[in-house]
Subunit: 362 residues, 2 copies
DNA sequence: CTGAAAGCGCTAACAT
DNA sequence: ATGTTAGCGCTTTCAG
């Protein structure tokens, strides 16, 4: 920067101004400085800026570790053959489809961060020990102006610690009485609306529910909405069987296969996420059971694949991109004004009625 | 940090040491410092560290802008109804499936960065003017120790400029004689091996090729491999029709429909990517044309969906995760030793033979 | 093994 | 509109 200043015949302060508030500088001077910047290939140091300005212009997104720290080989690529040819028979899907979910949030964060002139740093909370997690997080916290954390990727007490050095916003998961912003999605209302549709418009009286993991607050909310809808229509939800699919396509398929074998298929199978609903379809298809004529199947999430399956999947679409964007907006608001009251936002969802309950659509 | 030092009864230098090279400090002192850190909820400033140490511990990944700066609303969420219910008839897919590709690279980068103790900053090159792109990039460059850039997301001259302040590694795309590392994938060899399999093991003599955009260097390589295989078997590739699908599932479907209508289906349709191959299957299915009995269809990329389509898609799998990891390794190597010769790495691919050419697999 | 001191490259008053 | 100057919070010699 000193070089640039010298080259342009101005002081470093002017260079700084040209780069941060160009309007405070005469156009001719500006031009000269920019010229020097270009000639000298000057790239301003983010660290120095961050230090001096007390804000880095970076926001952080902390995601739960989906991948189980896979093969940690240091792969010496040179040795391998350039092409390998092999047969690839079908295998159960291995990757948890859950990441599709987060990728959309990520896109939303990046998009909004960009709009607001911030950079985005991402960090995946890989298992390891609690301490290493804490170090990772605190390290991250030191580099950003605000941190968005996806539910269940880090313990609340650690977040609270970080929360008093920078704004933290908690995404999805359980709403708790913390000192940070909280953004969730209307899981309950979405599932209730969907279930009511099934009851009111399709005359379903005995839907089965296929749940996810026990510790999923999202799923708990969804089941709550399901139960509420039934109760509101005079149906006792506790009398209905609940199945367990762990949010996994494969597990759901197995569960559905059991149902088929036992001849215990209900009129409708309400799944706590799309992956499981797809798994159910996987089981139904070869058995020759028609959807929705013989059985209605519904999902939750609104993943892309559900819009292309056969039949196309009725589901509740979560605004994942908006989740990310809202997170960034919340952080930016708080960076601007650090002592705002913590706010709790619940984003709207959309029930998408498709073929798996409606049959062929126009 | 001064507080921590005071609290622990040591100098700031010692605090620094405990946090960066714990082994240089007596265990008891260390413990005292760590204690103070915890009590004071101290989070070290990344900016200050970066400035003093001359390295930020952050790597950057620059991706091409896939999303067309969608609705830039500032969405006041409060006003919306919590649930909307609506019918959702099938529509052509809108999102370019291409991002799936990059998400995998991103995962690879994040994984390897984490392993190497770096953070990862991501930045999407949203259209805009060339200057704004340059500003974005230079801004990013100032915040990281190294930058990985995915092909075609930024002009080479800008990258060169950045390249002399920090290491730049170029991913995929055309191999050029630049001053930075370059990591690609064996597009040519992969497509050649696949095509040879079709000729040698399935007796195909007149495959049609479905290309992507004209300006895709990846596609050019792939077509090159295709042509080489034919020539090597005494078939003249220029005598064979080439179709244009723009890497789009919808376009490919339309093209295939034309072919069907015209009764001009070849024995095999070799697609330059998986999305197009899936589009072809979309067209073939309702027409009652059997794959692979009536026509063989192949893709390229190895996206998840191809492993689950009906029939499952024969393809060439690109090591996207490895691409990301290799990029990070290259950057780290260069951060360690800045004046290494630029290296050019070509990652191996795998031809995955599945039902769309082999028929039912064990 | 620990402390003292000199910056790292910028921004933000404050002057002019 | 531009220059001067005092740090920002840390790492890193260099002594001890």
């Amino acid at each position: 920067m000193y070089d640039v200043a010298a080259h342009a015949g101005v002081s470093i302060a002017t260079v700084s101004r040209v780069l941060t508030r160009p309007d405070d500088v005469r156009a001719s001077t500006q031009e000269r400085v920019l010229q020097a910047v270009r000639e000298l290939r000057y790239v301003p140091s983010g660290s120095a800026r961050g230090l001096a300005a007390r804000r880095t212009g970076v926001l952080g997104l902390f995601l739960p570790g989906v991948d189980a720290v896979e093969d940690l080989s240091d792969a010496e690529v040179g040795e391998q053959r350039p092409v390998e040819v092999r047969r690839d028979p079908a295998k159960p899907d291995q990757r948890p489809g859950a990441n599709l979910y987060f990728e959309e949030v990520l896109r939303g964060c990046e998009l909004e961060a960009w709009r607001q002139g911030f950079s985005l740093m991402i960090c995946v909370g890989r298992g390891r020990s609690p301490e290493s997690l804490e170090i990772t997080l605190s390290d991250l916290a030191g580099k950003v102006d605000g941190l968005a954390v996806i539910a269940q990727s880090a313990p609340h007490d650690v977040l609270r610690r970080i929360g008093d050095s920078i704004p933290v916003v908690y995404l999805a998961g359980q709403r708790r009485d913390d000192d940070f912003d909280h953004i969730t999605v209307r899981n309950r209302e979405g599932m209730r609306a969907l279930t009511e549709h099934l009851i009111d418009d399709h005359g379903v009286r005995d839907p089965m529910y296929l749940t996810g993991p026990f510790d999923s607050p999202d799923d708990a909310e969804r089941y709550g909405g399901f139960a509420e809808a039934l109760e509101g229509r005079g149906i006792n939800p506790t009398a209905l069987p609940v199945l367990h699919g762990e949010f996994s396509r494969e597990r759901a398929r197995a569960v559905a296969e059991d149902l088929i074998a036992g001849g215990r298929l209900p009129r409708a199978l309400v799944c706590a996420n799309d992956q499981m609903a797809l798994g159910v379809l996987d089981a139904l298809r070869p058995a020759g059971i028609r959807v929705p004529e013989d059985i209605i199947v519904t999902g939750f999430d609104g993943i892309d694949e559900g819009a292309r399956s056969t039949p196309r999947l009725t589901t509740v679409m979560q605004p994942m991109l908006e989740l990310g964007r809202a997170a960034v907006r919340a952080m930016v608001a708080r960076v601007t004004d650090p002592d705002l009251e913590p706010v709790s936002t619940e984003l709207p969802v959309t029930v998408l009625l498709r073929e798996s309950c409606e049959g062929p659509l126009g």
